[in-house]
């Protein structure tokens, strides 16, 4: 059906460009993005609040570009980006009265919307939210609802909107697209959404139990060529473009002050993991612990951003 409310492209549809170099196998293998960080090192995060004055709270989050992306930016050779870095904006509107038609609610009613910009991902996204975006919205809502003290705003609503300007890739571009079609990049996006939304909620001065932050960990088997029997390794804050094969991944929303997880999403085969000697944890436990460690790291950035936002408000009044 034609969308009459938007400007539509050619009716026959268009095709994304096909790069000739991709048709030869093994292109770019030498320029393949490699993780330069230690397994427990996290990427730097840029997080700033209060950029959108018409919203009651807002935040902007950006991940540090990976080494390969930074190199490609400073010295562009190929039009194909080696990896991408998450960029997203989050706004909070409310608390505001619920519409008259809505039934009574003793608590603050939270609605979350996550939308990719059409140009956010390697594949062009549509204007209407697809199921993965709705899915992300539900995850985000679960993560935040556990942190907000909702009974302090009866009969009120809170709208949280996240616009993703640049998403994480699901895999390295040179890999065969179907070698694994799981959307690992979505998990990084969710972790970013959680941290950004948490900062925006704090910016809107809404009471929370704690600043809830998102973190990702994954079990990765990178050197499959050398020894296929090698067990997957645990890595924190994985950029899927930098790894050959992600076996399983986990994202948590974590509140350090209470040591509690408000949202957990784990998928993939976590039965095998190479752990240190004497480590009795099973795969999924190690994975969850790793994600929690990553979330702790994000929490420090979050706390800093919220402190900045608070100083700004205090300075104004």
């Amino acid at each position: 059906m034609n969308d009459r409310r938007r400007v539509n492209g050619p009716p026959g549809g268009t095709r994304p460009p096909v790069y000739a170099s991709l048709l030869q196998s093994g292109t770019g293998a030498d320029t393949r993005a490699q993780r330069q960080r230690q397994p427990t090192d996290l990427r730097k995060i840029f997080l700033k609040t209060g950029l959108i004055p018409s919203a009651s709270g807002s935040s902007y989050l950006e991940f540090e570009p990976s080494a390969s992306l930074a190199a490609a930016r400073s010295n562009p050779k190929s039009l194909i980006p080696p990896s991408s870095a998450l960029k997203l904006a989050c706004t909070v509107h409310g608390p505001k009265p619920l519409p008259r038609s809505a039934p009574f609610s003793p608590n603050l009613v939270l609605t979350t919307h996550v939308k990719y910009a059409p140009f956010a991902a390697r594949k062009r996204k549509g204007h209407v939210r697809d199921s993965s975006e709705r899915d992300l919205g539900v995850h985000l809502e679960t993560a935040l609802r556990g942190a907000i003290i909702a009974e302090r705003w009866p009969k009120s609503g809170l709208d949280i909107t996240v616009t993703i300007l640049e998403a994480e890739d699901d895999r390295w571009w040179g890999d065969v697209p179907d070698s694994h079609d799981a959307s690992w990049g979505m998990m990084n996006v969710l972790a970013g959404c959680i941290s950004a939304a948490s900062a925006a909620i704090a910016d809107a001065h809404i009471d929370c139990l704690d600043l809830v932050s998102g973190g990702v960990a994954a079990l990765v088997s990178d050197d499959s060529t050398d020894s296929p029997s090698a067990l997957p390794k645990l890595m924190l804050d994985t950029d899927p473009a930098e790894h050959r094969s992600i076996v399983s991944a986990c994202v948590v929303a974590y509140m350090p002050a209470r040591d509690e997880i408000t949202e957990l999403w784990l998928k993939g085969d976590s039965s095998k993991v190479s752990t240190a000697d004497g480590d009795q944890r099973s795969g999924h436990e190690a994975l969850i612990d790793g994600a929690v460690d990553a979330a702790r790291g994000a929490h420090t950035v979050l706390a800093e951003a919220v402190r900045e936002s608070l100083q700004k408000t205090l300075g104004q009044s």
Partner: protein
């Protein structure tokens, strides 16, 4: 709270409010108080946001920061932020339903027209046809980003978003910013063997003048087009979305690189090179800068009374009494607060061509107060505004410091005689009839040419007639004197007993048919306004 209670007895007027509350409760009075300070205080008129009426906000731009785009830009216009990403995709000519038909007719046309002058004309027409008919430029503006409280994130595009998308689209078309040649992917078929050439010639026997060249080289054919998806996300909206969106589109298009693409015979598809060195930037025509204004009126109903109450003399006396006090302010680059208080807007898009300022688009809608003099002034402001965003991208900081001198004089001669004659013959009768009788004969209503009402304003004069006041509305289309079939703009105006009012001006809507040379300059506007003034006088002047 405690501080106010202690302060209250001291102040004789207990009804004083802090400025922020006053601004919310009485927005109109608040802005008016800022703009018209008491004459005794000797303060300049200043807006509530601290800017002078014709002052634009500080603009910053950042291009090329998004990874998955061919070109991108972030524009911050004060607190309004727009992010634009351009994605290029390929449209195969095989996928265009009517391609082969239109192609053959075009080719025939090109052959028949031998004259060099007309060739550029056809080429222009072909450019236009390719970009507009094939929808090669697809701009969409999204406001569903939580940019302002009014927009529901999951809802379909609001009326404002739809209107903005279409304004951008029509401006892209009329300004002919993107060259169609940049978007074409050609294929040069290899030379055929002699037998095949023979066969080929047999097929094209009907074509009389085809033979000679074709034995050497077959003409190159277009195999595909690039389609540019131009998506603007307004991240934060604090007034003036159009300027921000247009600036971001412009900056992103300037940043756009298209990979080298060719038709691969073996794969039967288009392949691209990922080498940055082989990629090409778009070559844009000019750099049209948009400036938006809104008109704040001290007494918004005054204009209406003037129309509705025909007691002209009395009104004029009153007007002259008040003339010492300014009644309206034209505010450049309005913020969200100001936009909520006005009903009249003017959009001016100007560009510079060979050192001259040309108007690419001008639109005025709603309200009655802006007259021809004001419009001339606004074009001047737009031309000088030196929108910093562009200078940032450009690194040509003085690009827009050019002042409009009397550059209109030369054009005036060519325009005036013809234009005036046309308008006189068309309208004098109508106006004279109007003066004689109270009822206007139906046949004298001039039916607009291709006038579909791009923007519908709230205060349509049609509503006035419903109240028993006969107000004539003349949609007037201006033709190019050297090219009588090409309209260059149109305006609606209406006339009632005391005054004549421009109701809606839209210049540039027809630019796409105007040939490449004749973008309307300030001179045209001068003409337009003079024509209007003349009409307003009743056609006797």
């Amino acid at each position: 709270m405690a501080s106010t209670s202690t302060a209250a007895p001291a102040a004789p007027n207990s009804l004083s409010l802090p400025p922020s509350q006053f601004a919310r409760l009485q927005p109109h009075a608040y802005l008016l108080a800022h703009l018209s300070p008491p004459s005794s205080s000797n303060q300049p008129s200043i807006r509530a946001n601290g800017r002078a009426p014709s002052q634009f906000r500080v603009t910053s731009a950042n291009a090329g920061s998004l990874t998955h785009t061919n070109g991108s830009a972030v524009i911050r216009l004060g607190d309004t932020t727009a992010v634009c990403g351009v994605r290029a995709e390929i449209l195969h000519t095989d996928d265009i339903a009517s391609w082969s038909v239109s192609q053959s007719t075009n080719a025939n046309k090109r052959r028949r027209i031998g004259e060099s002058e007309k060739e550029t004309e056809t080429k222009d027409e072909e450019d236009r046809a390719h970009i507009e008919d094939l929808n090669l430029l697809v701009p969409n503006i999204s406001l569903s980003t939580g940019c302002a409280p009014g927009f529901i994130p999951s809802a379909p595009p609001s009326a404002l978003a739809q209107s903005l998308s279409h304004q951008i689209l029509s401006l892209l078309h009329t300004s002919r910013l993107v060259q169609a040649e940049d978007l074409r992917i050609w294929y040069q078929p290899p030379n055929l063997g002699p037998e095949e050439v023979q066969q080929h010639n047999d097929e094209e026997q009907m074509d009389l003048d085809a033979g000679a060249n074709e034995e050497e080289t077959k003409p190159a054919e277009i195999k595909a087009f690039w389609v540019l998806y131009i998506d603007v996300m307004l991240i934060s909206l604090a007034g003036n979305p159009f300027d921000a969106a247009w600036a971001s589109v412009l900056a992103a298009l300037r940043d756009t690189k298209l990979p080298k693409a060719w038709w691969d015979v073996d794969n039967e598809s288009i392949l691209c090179s990922d080498d940055v060195k082989e990629s090409q930037k778009l070559s844009l025509r000019g750099l049209p800068i948009s400036s938006s204004f809104c008109v704040f009126e001290a007494d918004a109903a005054a204009g209406w009374r003037a129309v509705v109450i025909p007691d002209a003399e009395e009104q004029k006396v009153q007007d002259s009494k008040h003339s010492s006090q300014q009644q309206k302010w034209i505010l450049a680059d309005p913020d969200g607060y100001e936009e909520g208080l006005v009903q009249e807007r003017v959009y001016v898009v100007v560009d510079k061509e060979e050192g001259k300022t040309v108007i690419v688009k001008m639109e005025k809608l709603g309200g009655w107060t802006v007259d021809s003099e004001d419009l001339r002034h606004l074009v001047d402001i737009s031309a000088q505004s030196g929108t910093p965003s562009e200078s940032h991208i450009d690194h040509e900081p003085h690009y827009y410091q050019h002042h409009l001198a009397n550059d209109g004089t030369r054009l005036k001669k060519t325009f005036s005689a013809d234009l005036f004659e046309k308008m006189t013959s068309r309208y004098s009768r109508a106006i004279k009839t109007r003066r004689r009788g109270s009822q206007v004969p139906a046949e004298l209503y001039y039916t607009p040419r291709a006038h579909q009402g791009e923007m519908v304003s709230n205060n349509n004069p049609a509503s006035l007639t419903r109240h028993g006041w006969s107000v004539l509305q003349f949609p007037t289309t201006l033709m190019r004197p050297d090219h009588p079939q090409s309209p260059v703009g149109c305006f609606d105006w209406c006339r009632s007993a005391p005054t004549a009012l421009i109701h809606h001006i839209s210049l540039g809507r027809f630019l796409r048919t105007a040939a490449h040379r004749g973008l309307p300059g300030k001179a045209l506007l001068v003409e337009l306004c003079r024509a209007f003034d003349w009409l307003a006088m009743g056609g006797n002047g």
